[in-house]
C-alpha cells in the first residue's frame, strides 16, 4: 500500500511539474514576439542593429516620432472609427437575424446559417477587384464606409453564429413569467432578456472588433491616403524619417501602441472571448 502511494505521489509530482512547465512554455511562446517588438521599439536608433534581444539602453524617441508625424495618429483615428462602426452595424444586424433564427421557425433558417458559413470560408481576394472598381465609381474609395461595408459582410457570419449559440441558451420563458408577474413587455425585455443576452452580444462585439482592427487586405486595397488608411496598412508602408534610415524603430513603436490595448482587453475578457470562439463549435 505504501509503495503504491509513494509511487503514485511521485508520478503526481512529475505530472504537475510537467503541466507547470508546459504552462510556462505557452506563456513565453505567446508573448515572445510582443516582447521582442517592444524591445525593438525602446532601442535608440543607433542600437537597432546590435542584434540583441533586450535593449542596452531605453529610449522613447520612436514613440515621440510616430506621434509627431501625421500618418500614425490619422491611422489610429481611422482604425478606431472604422472598427467601431463595423462592430455596431454588424452586431446590430446579427442580433436581429440570430433572434429570428433561434425563436422563429421559418424556412430560411438553415440556408442563412449555411450561407453565413460559406461566406466565412470565402477568399476575400475574389472580391477585391470588383469592390475596388465599384468603390471608385460610387465614390466610396478611400472612405470610412468603403471599409465598414466589407467588414460588416465578413464579420456577420461570425457574429450570427456566436449570437445564435448564445441565444439558444437563453431561457426565453422567463420573459413570459415576468409579464405574468405584472411587468410591461418593455420592462420584461429590459430587465430579463437584456442581461441574459448581454454577454453574447458583448462577446460577438469583441470578436467583430478584432477582425475589423486586424484586417490588412481590404485596408490596403480600398484606401490610398490618410483619410481612411487604417493602422495595419499604414504600418506596412511606414517610411523612416529619412531615406537612409530603417523605419524599424517607428514600425515597432506603432506596433506596440496598437497591441498593448489589445493585450489588456484580452486579459480582462479572456473567458468571454474563448467561450465565444468555441460556442459555435460546441453548440453549433
Amino acid at each position: 500500500m505504501t509503495t503504491k502511494e509513494g509511487g503514485g505521489r511521485r508520478r503526481h509530482v512529475l505530472e504537475t511539474l510537467f503541466w507547470k512547465a508546459g504552462s510556462l512554455f505557452v506563456i513565453v511562446y505567446a508573448l515572445f514576439p510582443v516582447a521582442w517588438i517592444a524591445s525593438l521599439s525602446l532601442k535608440p536608433a543607433a542600437h537597432l542593429n546590435d542584434g540583441r534581444f533586450f535593449p542596452r539602453e531605453v529610449s522613447l524617441e520612436h514613440y515621440r516620432r510616430i506621434f509627431q508625424d501625421v500618418q500614425f495618429p490619422a491611422a489610429l483615428r481611422n482604425s478606431i472609427g472604422i472598427a467601431s462602426l463595423s462592430t455596431v452595424f454588424s452586431v446590430a444586424l446579427a442580433m436581429f437575424a440570430a433572434y429570428a433564427i433561434v425563436r422563429l421557425r421559418f424556412r430560411g433558417r438553415r440556408v442563412i446559417l449555411g450561407g453565413a458559413l460559406s461566406i466565412a470560408m470565402f477568399p476575400p481576394i475574389a472580391v477585391i477587384g470588383p469592390l475596388f472598381n465599384l468603390w471608385r465609381t460610387v465614390g466610396l474609395f478611400d472612405t470610412w464606409m468603403g471599409l465598414v461595408l466589407p467588414y460588416m459582410t465578413f464579420t456577420l457570419p461570425l457574429a450570427i453564429w456566436t449570437l445564435t449559440a448564445y441565444f439558444r441558451e437563453i431561457p426565453w420563458e422567463l420573459e413570459k413569467a415576468a409579464r405574468v408577474d405584472g411587468a410591461t413587455p418593455f420592462q420584461a425585455f429590459r430587465h430579463v432578456i437584456v442581461p441574459l443576452a448581454a454577454p453574447g452580444v458583448f462577446t460577438a462585439a469583441i470578436l467583430v472588433f478584432i477582425f475589423a482592427w486586424n484586417d490588412f487586405l481590404f485596408a490596403t486595397a480600398l484606401t490610398s491616403t490618410n483619410a481612411a488608411r487604417t493602422v495595419p496598412a499604414a504600418v506596412a508602408f511606414f517610411t523612416g524619417s529619412s531615406r537612409f534610415e530603417l523605419p524599424t524603430g517607428s514600425i515597432s513603436a506603432a506596433s506596440v501602441v496598437v497591441t498593448l490595448p489589445l493585450v489588456v482587453v484580452i486579459l480582462l475578457f479572456q473567458r468571454r472571448i474563448i467561450s465565444g470562439l468555441t460556442a459555435g463549435a460546441v453548440k453549433g
Binding site: 503541466w19 504552462s23 505557452v26 511562446y29 505567446a30 508573448l31 514576439p33 510582443v34 521582442w36 517588438i37 542593429n49 542584434g51 540583441r52 534581444f53 436581429f96 437575424a97 433564427i101 433561434v102 422563429l104 421557425r105 421559418f106 430560411g108 433558417r109 442563412i112 470560408m121 470565402f122 477568399p123 476575400p124 481576394i125 472580391v127 477585391i128 477587384g129 470588383p130 469592390l131 472598381n133 465599384l134 466589407p150 460588416m152 459582410t153 456577420l156 450570427i160 439558444r168 431561457p171 486586424n214 490588412f216 487586405l217 490596403t220 486595397a221 504600418v235 506596412a236 506596433s255 497591441t259 484580452i266 479572456q270 472571448i273 474563448i274 470562439l277 468555441t278 463549435a281 460546441v282
Partner: protein, 301 residues
C-alpha cells in the same frame, strides 16, 4: 439538447412567423450578399474582358482568353505550389501543436487564466504586426536570430528559408485558434469514460489514442477544414515579409499584384475566380471525403 422552452411567440400564425423571420434576417442577409454575391458575379463578368485600368479605352471582350493565359502561366502554377507548401506546412504542424496546447489548457490548473489569456494574444494581435515582429527577428541586420544561432543567413532573401520564416509566423499566429477549436472538442469527451479506462489499466497514450482521439474526430475535421481554407487564402504574412519575391508568391499575392498593383482587372478577375474555385474545391473535397463518414458515424453512435 434543444430546450423545450424554445417558446416561440405563441400569438403568431405560421405564415406571419415566416414573414417576421425573413424580415428580421433580411438586413443581415442583404449585407452579406451585397459584398459577396455581387462582386463575385462582377468578377466573373470582368474576367471575360481584356480590361486594364491604365488603358480603359482598350477594353474588349475576350471570352476565356484570360483563363487560358493564367492557366498556362508558370507564375500561376508556381504560386499554387507555394500556397500548397505553406498550407500543408503550417496546418500539419498546427494540428499537432494545437492538440498539445488544447490538452494543456484542458488539464492545467496552474495559472489557468494567464495561460488562456496568453493563448489569445497571437489570435488577437494584428497579423501585420506579427509578420513584422518575426521579419525583424530574422533580419540579418536588426534581428537576434542570426547572433543566437551563430549563423549569417539572409533568411528572407532565399526561397526555402523565406518559406521557413513565413510558415513559422503562420504557425505561431494560428496554433492558438486551432487549439481552441480542438479544446471545444476535448470537452465533449466524457470524463467517466476516461476514468473507467484508467481503472481498467489503460495507459495514458492508450487512453488518448483509443478513446479521446476517435471521439474528437468531428472537432478535428472541422478545425482542419477551417484552417486549411484559411491557410490557402494567406496574404498578409507573405506580403509583409517578402512581397511575394524570391519565389514565395502565393495565389492571393498574384491576385493582388494583378488587380491592385498592375490594375489589370481582366486578368486579375480571372485569377480571383480561379482562387474562388480552388477554395470551393477544397471545401467540397473535405465534405465529400469526411462528411459522409461523419454522417455515418453519427448514425452508428
Amino acid at each position: 439538447m434543444k430546450r423545450s422552452s424554445q417558446s416561440r411567440p405563441r400569438r403568431l400564425g405560421r405564415s406571419a412567423e415566416e414573414r417576421l423571420g425573413w424580415l428580421l434576417s433580411a438586413p443581415a442577409v442583404l449585407a452579406m450578399l451585397v459584398v459577396t454575391a455581387y462582386p463575385v458575379m462582377n468578377a466573373v463578368w470582368l474576367s471575360l474582358f481584356r480590361y486594364d485600368l491604365r488603358f480603359p479605352d482598350r477594353r474588349a471582350f475576350v471570352g476565356l482568353r484570360n483563363y487560358a493565359s493564367v492557366l498556362t502561366s508558370g507564375i500561376w502554377w508556381e504560386s499554387v505550389l507555394n500556397t500548397l507548401i505553406i498550407t500543408v506546412g503550417s496546418v500539419s504542424v498546427e494540428l499537432v501543436l494545437g492538440m498539445g496546447l488544447a490538452l494543456l489548457m484542458h488539464r492545467a490548473v496552474f495559472a489557468r487564466r494567464t495561460v488562456r489569456a496568453s493563448v489569445l494574444v497571437p489570435y488577437g494581435i494584428i497579423t501585420v504586426v506579427a509578420a513584422l515582429a518575426w521579419k525583424f527577428a530574422f533580419d540579418p541586420v536588426t534581428g537576434f536570430v542570426n547572433p543566437l544561432l551563430r549563423v549569417d543567413q539572409a533568411w528572407l532573401s532565399q526561397r526555402w528559408s523565406a518559406f521557413a520564416v513565413i510558415i513559422l509566423t503562420e504557425i505561431w499566429k494560428t496554433t492558438p485558434f486551432m487549439a481552441l477549436l480542438l479544446l471545444a472538442g476535448l470537452t465533449l469527451v466524457p470524463r467517466d469514460l476516461l476514468d473507467a479506462a484508467r481503472v481498467d489499466g489503460a495507459s495514458t497514450p492508450q487512453r488518448f489514442l483509443r478513446i479521446t482521439l476517435p471521439l474528437m474526430k468531428p472537432a478535428v475535421l472541422v478545425a482542419l477544414l477551417f484552417r486549411t481554407l484559411d491557410a490557402f487564402r494567406i496574404f498578409d504574412t507573405v506580403f509583409i515579409q517578402t512581397r511575394g519575391a524570391q519565389g514565395t508568391e502565393t495565389v492571393s499575392v498574384v491576385g493582388y499584384n494583378a488587380l491592385i498593383t498592375r490594375l489589370n482587372l481582366g486578368l486579375g478577375s480571372a485569377v480571383s475566380v480561379l482562387i474562388f474555385l480552388c477554395v470551393l474545391g477544397i471545401a467540397v473535397l473535405y465534405v465529400m471525403g469526411f462528411g459522409a463518414r461523419l454522417a455515418r458515424e453519427g448514425e452508428e453512435a
